[in-house]
Symmetry: C2
Subunit: 160 residues, 2 copies
């Protein structure tokens, strides 16, 4: 029987921030690769029912990215810039093109737990509590949990 | 005698945001150019005592930028990405390299007041109130006010 590993999803009480935390059977370098190598990224990000296609992807400090997630005729496009891509952390902007006014500033870092395990910290900062809370109510935890389960599987199958 | 036009600098009480507002004798298109054309930008941004030099500057959605401000032997470098550059607004990231951990998400928009006047709105979002308030206490209003006075002068002298 598989142990279900849930992601901790926290809304900061004082700041318009969502924080995700999840432990992986992967090294920090593997998690960095999973977030920067487009061929790996498309295999795990988002819910199982969507298929990702990269439009453009330049995972360097100062680069930019865009991908499209599809389910049948449905299309959801996401885009942003990479403000910083380093071994310690990734800082990037994020917009869902269906809501082009909204921009999140995302910071990801990888806490080495030893023994090939790493805690992923992902922080999303937006400019209103209303926007943050609407996102939390949108069912985003399905994509987060299914996505991270795929990422964990890629790591344990040595595909990262 | 010149009328001194001050910039309104507001700290949001609930959000880690600084908002700048200032009226200019310029059109929205001129203000957009002043923020995207590097040859114009270096002439006005920041306090009078610093001289700006562009390192790189690609003011398109998905582009990135870096410039260095110098006073004698002192050097202050700033860099970021352009998340969105459009006629309606500019969304960009901002880091002062002397404090590389800090990243602000900046949104600028240009409210047409008619008669060749425009209200500039600039919002800086960061991920802590401490960081926001330290920035407010840093004397940043000198650079803001002196910079915007130069921008106003460029507009009235038809140099934008």
């Amino acid at each position: 029987m598989n142990k279900i590993v849930e992601t901790t999803i926290e809304a900061d009480p004082k700041l318009p921030i969502i924080r995700l935390t999840r432990d992986f059977a992967a090294t920090p370098a593997q998690l960095l690769r999973a977030h920067t190598d487009p061929e790996i990224f498309v295999q795990w990000s988002g819910p199982d029912s969507l298929t990702n296609t990269i439009d453009y992807w330049d995972a360097r400090t100062g680069g930019s990215w865009r991908y499209v997630a599809r389910r049948g005729d449905e299309e959801y496009a996401f885009r942003g810039t990479f403000h910083e891509v380093g071994p310690e952390r990734i800082v990037q902007t994020f917009t869902f093109e269906g809501q082009p006014e909204g921009v999140a500033l995302e910071t990801l870092w990888f806490e080495d737990l030893g023994d090939g395990r790493t805690r992923l910290h992902a922080q999303s900062l937006v400019d209103s509590f209303e926007g943050r809370d609407a996102w939390l109510r949108s069912g985003m935890e399905v994509g987060v949990n299914e996505g991270y389960a795929k990422l964990e599987r890629l790591a344990t199958e040595h595909k990262i």
